[in-house]
Amino acid sequence: MTTLSIPSPRDIIGPAERGETENMVLNMGPHHPSTHGVLRLVVELDGETVVDVAPDIGFLHTGIEKTMESKTYQKALVMTDRMDYLAPLSNNLSYVLAVEKLLECEIPVRAQTARVLLTELTRIGSHLVWLGTHALDLAAMSVFLYAFREREQILDIFELVSGARMMTSYFRVGGLAYDLPADFIPTVKQFIDTFEPRVDEYEDLLTNNPLWLERTVDVGKISTADAIAFGLTGPALRATGIAYDLRKMTPYTGYETYDFDVPIGQNGDIYDRYLVRIAEMRQSLGIVRQAYDRLIEMGPGPYQTADRKVAPPPKSEITHSMESLIHHFKLWTEGFKPPRGDAYICIESPRGMMGTYVVSDGGPRPYRVHFRAPSFVNLQALPHMARGRFMADLVALIASLDPVLGEVDR
């Protein structure tokens, strides 16, 4: 299985230090604009050809999993925003679903629909950053500017519902943090109405552009078997031709009731990953439309579970109900105590399979939280794809895997 080796930086630096290699060893990063974060790559180069490359990670390690062990379940939620900072709501969702599974609590339909709508917006927003930076890495400046303009609309919707553009913490265990505001519907409408032509515009600029094709077609190919062996998930796996999407395979939050397709590629090269993500944006927009229609149809309703042992009572209640006041105080100081046990939930984040494993010892704080971060696993395939390619392709490859270093290092 030599083809599937993942070298460590030592494997490359070691021989070079002993003078055993003719090739040049080059450090790329950790501070390099096209590594999309603090990723260090140790590259062994023969001329301009990459002989081997070893990712060196950990520069952004903040001990999120460990810190969560010392916070109550509800407080630990804010850490999840800070892992994949381009898709905070996907992380929130993965974590709250796992804790809700521990608690076995029921979530109102309105909250579920809002969750679907907002996570799909997150997916579009995250793909827009990928598209913009990917194009920028390959010297297409305008796409970057256009993509960020649309992302601004999405961030504005997040600010509208949660008060924060990126660190939303909007999905709480038991439902949503607050109800959707009154002008949520018109703002989402504005986005739905304007977004589709914008995607066409990106495609005008890139899809058939000979310069773009030259840099992406047949570059960084990976076969389906290798992709599975590396544990690749998300658009990078689907580009190899498998329709593996957790929203279809193991539906959560009611995804089985939405009508959408899973776009797949054929060749598993950078171009197919591009096509898959572009098609995913259109599919996500379709899901947003359906969720939007449902929200209008169902009208106002509860946005969190009625279980007062999990979700705090509305504030208007605590002024006149002693019981509510006690619940409120208990929840904010002590938190809730899920029964002993563990729960694993994986969802389809913009980058792939985002899993959360929570172990409860019956206390108010998680005994252990672990995340299966898609960026971390996907990054393993980078050396395999980069060997034998030019140095310039390496830049395109990193962008096409779309890693978020906050999530890789956690």
Partner: protein, 165 residues
């Protein structure tokens, strides 16, 4: 092939004649949404009394341990707050704060509210600690525009869409 290049070029050229959507910060400031979580303020009741009763719930709810509350008994002759106690010391360390709004959600009297000021900067760690004098709204500014009851969630309606698209 050339046709596809021209198609792309046409897109960019079209944009040359459109109004830019860039906001020229700091000359122009983008309005924030109603729920925006910025700098904290300690509010007062209509009659000028402090809302904060020194219960420390905000401090308990804070995931970043950024709040310090030291409560003291009210002097019945000149009470600071309508309850038995008030916050003698109230400090928020703005370097620790992550602006999550948990303090606002936890506060039973709606005393602490995350307002819309977002330009916070300090020269050293000491000045990053915002004391009660800095956080409390001045008495002459009345009750500091807060809803009478505790429906923080439905605060004033949001300003219209912020971008001219």
């Amino acid at each position: 092939m050339i046709g596809d290049l021209v198609k792309g070029l046409a897109t960019t050229v079209r944009y040359m004649f459109r109004k830019p959507i860039t906001v020229q910060y700091p000359d122009v400031k983008r309005p924030v949404r109603e729920r925006f979580k910025g700098r904290h303020e300690l509010k007062r009741f209509e009659n000028g009394m402090e809302r904060c009763i020194g219960c420390s719930l905000c401090s308990a709810a804070c995931p970043a341990d950024a709040i310090l509350v030291v409560p003291a008994e009210n002097d019945p002759a000149t009470p600071n707050s309508p309850g038995e106690r008030y916050a003698a010391t109230y400090e928020i360390n703005m370097l620790r704060c992550i602006f999550c709004g948990y303090c606002e959600d936890a506060c039973p009297t709606n005393a602490i509210v995350l307002e819309h000021q977002y330009e916070l900067s300090f020269y050293d760690r000491r000045t990053s600690i915002y004391t009660k004098d800095m956080l409390l709204v001045p008495e002459d500014q009345g009750h500091g525009e807060i809803p009478p009851v505790l429906e923080q969630v439905h605060r004033r309606p949001s300003p219209p869409a912020q971008m001219d698209l």
